[in-house]
Amino acid sequence: MAFLALDTANDAKPHNGNDMNPDDNPEKASVSPSDVREAPSDEEKVLTHRDFSRMSRRELLKLSPLVVLGAFAIPRVQEKLLEKGVALSDWASGEFFSKSRLARTFKDSDVVPFEKFPYNGYDILDPEVDLDSWTLTVEGLVRNPGEFELPKIQTLPKIVQNTRHVCVEGWDAIGNFGGARVSDFLKFIGADTTARFVEVECADDYYESLDMASMLQPQSLMCYEMYGKPLDRGHGAPLRLQMPTKLGYKQAKYLTTFRVTNVLKSDRKGYWEDQGYSWHGGL
């Protein structure tokens, strides 16, 4: 009904400026002040100025729920609210993640040359790991804890994949990575895969913690090769995590300790997470 009225009103009135005679337009005429005074419609209310102001104020008060947003301006509350917001996003990320969903893999021709695959680290690029005496310390909810040498990890089936590495800063690069599946390694060390987390520590004092579901995703690697060569020092020699379903900061380099656990210390969730990055960091 209203729609029709609008159409006819539009058709009847060319956009010809302000010189319209109000009589040409029945709608316009119908609401001229004199008409309204003589014949107020049944549907239309007639109010005094005071009543109208009161009604307006009531409508204004109905917007009061928006004051809640103002809490974001209060420094102490703000921090808590943002923590909640990020926690909500992390929760949604975890729920949305499926370990059977694979990240895209790419043709060899899509891989960037090795020199164009960025080095990135929070502090130093070479923590001077003694590669000859290096072992990975395995702890926590596992049947076979202890020290694991690299050749032992290399006995597990080797996976080579071209996947996209995404940095939280916004850049990305497709690289070629080789290593053992984390899931195979977890089996190898007799880990309780119903445990919730894996914590890792690194030779450069970096540390991370990751959800078990992401670790079990078949593209998550204990990576010891890039571009067919042993991992170089800048990229995390001798062993790093390589996970196309995680942001770069979750893929810790220079691994020294691998711990399966159900409990995370609230102030030691990850080097960047403890400063405010999202913990899930899932892609």
């Binding site: 209203a2 009225a5 609008l6 009103a9 539009n10 956009h15 400026g17 609401v31 002040p33 309204v36 005074r37 419609s41 549907e43 239309e44 209310k45 007639v46 109010l47 005094t48 100025h49 109208f52 307006s56 104020r57 409508e59 204004l60 109905k62 917007l63 928006l66 947003l69 974001f72 609210l81 923590e83 909640k84 917001g85 990020v86 909500l88 996003s89 949305f96 993640f97 499926s98 969903r101 990240a103 895209r104 020199e115 164009k116 695959f117 960025p118 996209r164 995404v166 800063e169 916004g170 850049w171 990305d172 196309p244 379903t245 960047w272 405010g276 990055y277 999202s278 899932g282 892609l283």
Partner: protein, 233 residues
Amino acid sequence: MAAKSALDLKTVSILSEHRTDIAAYEHPWVVRMAHWANAASLFVMVTTGLRIYKAFPSFGAKIPQHDFINIPKWLTLGGWLGGALQWHFTFAWIFVVTGLTYVIYQIVSGNYRQVLFTLRDVSGVWPMARHYFFFGKKPEVTEPYNPLQKLAYTSSIFFGILATLTGFVLYKPAQLWWLAYPMGGYHLTRVWHFLAMCGFLSFIPGHLIMVALHGWNNFYSMLVGWKKGPEYI
């Protein structure tokens, strides 16, 4: 005869000794709530988005890095990348919930007819633009929103959808790789996300200037819903 606008807006007459004013209920409560919640969340999304972009202000490769634009820090919110991400991922929820509420309400209530840009609005765009930008004659006002406004408000819905979809792809490229396809892949999605913001930014200054030019009565209507003496009645 009932005093009605063409859109069946609720109206009242305000009596005083010398004159009678008409007021129309232009902005229902949901629309006003959505408008202000969206104004806040859009402000946060843009300023923190710029801070996030500042961490890698390029659309190319990391090596060699060619910066596209240097965003001054005072335009940004969040302090550092991690802080900006916290704001961004908190207000993203508010942005999406607000947008969905608004769109669903507009459709269900039929109120969308006020603002939806349709084919019959096309012919009115140029006369309005000529009036605004080239001092042309002011076209007849027949409804709450003129064709140019409708175009702006309708395209902002489109920018909102684009910003949301591209945002999801950037957030979850491994899970939503299929959604990255129509955007030209993950890498280009960042460009689309940026362009969605540019869309909003192209609209906001004009919007604010118009609000300033049209004065208190018009501004107040977005707070209380009622507009006194609307031109189209």
